[in-house]
């Protein structure tokens, strides 16, 4: 048994993750619905997580996977806070479209 990446190739993972990451970016830019934007950000984070695991395998090293735990914690915390903000916005203006957030400008 040898490194599984010998069969897949780390580049492929990189490409996959980059694409996924970009889809996340795309989503953030494309959608005005804050929830979907959150989801896109989660996609971005997941792309990175996946890459971490791939690199972890590449290096045969546990640290990458450990880092994924932290990353997950961060993602969870972010989502929690984000949603809290979202809820208070929703309470105030009754909408979660980020297009409505244009009071501050200039």
């Amino acid at each position: 048994m040898n490194n599984i990446l010998t069969q897949i190739g780390i580049e492929n993972y990189i490409f996959l993750c980059v694409t996924l990451f970009c889809i996340g970016i795309f989503g953030v830019l494309y959608r005005r619905n804050a929830i979907i934007v959150f989801m896109s950000i989660e996609i971005m984070l997941n792309a990175v997580n996946l890459l971490f695991v791939a690199f972890s395998t590449y290096h045969q090293d546990a640290q990458g996977q450990v880092f994924v735990f932290f990353s997950m914690a961060v993602a969870a915390a972010e989502v929690a806070v984000g949603l809290a903000i979202l809820v208070s916005i929703f309470r105030n203006i009754g909408s979660i479209s980020i297009d409505n957030l244009k009071n501050l400008k200039g």
Binding site: F67, G82, I85, S88, I89
Partner: protein
């Protein structure tokens, strides 16, 4: 390391106080605690060490910056006394978050492992998201929080991606190992990409062009005290961290990278200053001013090996004047709907002391001598010229000139306009903070060696 533990302990203590209903004691205890922590931190100055598998590295750099952060936090906590007097039930939360935020900040400048760095920055960011949005009934605050959150997590994603790339190249998160390995010749392209992405993420945090767009909106919308925090502490933390990151990864070797820094730096100062000219809202104006200062601070990245001292000096000068300015703003704009310049009319007559302090801090930001801002710019220019980037210095000079335009708009409003309404009450803490901050500013202005030599 003890600093970090103590800070966290203090944060928890705050929360416990709330439980036992010692609300009144929270701010005094926090201030005293922070002062003690400051002493603790300073005592570590001459004993650099690594802790816990190199997770935390205590060095002169980290200690000096940590001390600066602690000082700033003391100010910010003290200002909270007046600012949160209508939000007593949330006081402990606010203070605790600030103290935790401080722990994140300290972690960021004393990290020895990218994991600590990442967690630190996330603690900082999340605290800021919360604080920005903390005035939940105010739509502007909500909006500010939301905008900051969206963009901030986007930037976090970028940073994370960068860290991942670095890990991919190095197979380690340890900063020393990375540093060692980065010296070797054969490096996968992932490493520079990682550095660049992390840098971009950090540039977002310090609000450099073109990643600055959030700053004015968020500064304006956030509660004023949060703005103060963001424009002083958060910005300083970010630039210090970026400096530390890049210097430990030897990013300055790459010429193209320096070009990028030059461009971003010039763009930040120019854009920030020009945009600030037509602002009516003082917080917004200071946001743009902060963007331009970010540009200035970025100049330190051009001579990474030598400029730690000047960065510390610049950030101290900037942050102290920022604190002084914001304490005046807090006083003037309390119970006002907005922070427009109109509110400052005639302050020179109604309240000469605060007007003088605000003037002083603005002059410091503009870089007028005896205020620390001048020396900050001076050493910066000096170093940048030494690094061979005269062009940046010239742009910086031109920008300093432009910046006078809007700083003086505020000064003019204070001294030439008629006061529109008298303010009563002289909140002791605000006065104290303002006076102490500006005095500190002047002191380090008169004796720059005090700070400059720390990291020489």
């Amino acid at each position: 390391m003890t600093t970090l533990i103590a800070i966290i302990g203090l944060g928890v203590l705050c929360l416990i106080f709330e439980i036992f209903d010692f609300r009144k004691a929270i701010i005094p205890i926090s201030i005293i605690g922070l002062l003690a922590i400051l002493g603790l931190t300073v005592s570590e100055f001459n004993s650099p060490a690594n802790y816990y598998n190199n997770m935390i590295v205590v060095s002169k750099f980290s200690v000096s910056f940590s001390s600066l952060f602690i000082v700033l936090t003391i100010f910010l906590v003290a200002l909270g006394h007046n600012f949160y007097d209508n939000h007593q039930s949330k006081l402990s939360d606010y203070i605790a978050i600030k103290i935790f935020l401080l722990s994140g900040a300290v972690a960021m400048v004393s990290f020895g492992n990218l994991a600590m760095f990442f967690l630190g920055i996330e603690i900082l960011s999340i605290s800021l998201y919360v604080l920005a949005a903390s005035n939940r009934v105010n739509v502007k605050s909500n909006e500010a929080g939301m905008k900051y959150f969206l963009m901030g997590s986007f930037a976090s994603g970028i940073i994370l991606f960068g860290i991942c790339m670095i890990y991919g190249a190095m197979g380690s998160f340890d900063i020393v190992e990375i540093s060692d390995m980065s010296q070797s010749a054969e490096l996968p392209i992932w490493f520079p990409i990682g550095i660049v992405l992390v840098t971009i993420g950090m540039l977002f945090k310090i609000a450099a062009v073109p990643f600055h767009f959030w700053a004015p909106d968020v500064y304006e919308g956030s509660p004023t005290l949060t703005t103060a925090l963001m424009s002083t502490l958060a910005k300083v933390v970010a630039i210090a961290t970026l400096y530390k990151l890049l210097s430990s990864m030897h990013a300055d070797i790459n010429y193209s990278f320096q070009i990028v820094v030059v461009i971003v730096s010039i763009a930040s100062m120019t854009f920030g200053n020009i945009m600030a000219l037509r602002q009516v809202n003082v917080k917004r104006m200071l946001a743009f001013s902060g963007i331009s200062h970010a540009g200035f601070m970025l100049m330190t990245l051009l001579s990474l090996s030598t400029s730690a001292g000047s960065l510390l000096y610049y950030t101290s000068a900037y942050a102290l004047s920022g604190i002084a300015a914001f304490s005046v703003i807090l006083y003037v704009c309390k119970n006002r709907e907005n922070e427009d310049v109109v509110n400052f009319h005639g302050l020179g007559k109604t309240n000469p002391l605060l007007a003088a302090i605000l003037t002083g801090s603005l002059l410091s930001m503009a870089g007028i001598p005896i205020f620390a801002g001048f020396f900050a710019k001076l050493v910066l220019f000096s170093q940048t010229i030494q690094a061979g980037y005269l062009v940046v210095v010239i742009f910086a000079v031109i920008n300093s000139i432009i910046s006078v335009g809007y700083y003086f708009k505020l000064i003019l409003a204070m001294y030439t306009k008629e006061p529109n309404e008298t303010r009563t009450g002289k909140p002791f803490l605000i006065y104290a903070v303002a006076v102490v901050a500006i005095l500190l500013n002047i002191i380090i202005g008169l004796f720059p060696s005090l700070v400059l030599d720390l990291l020489a």
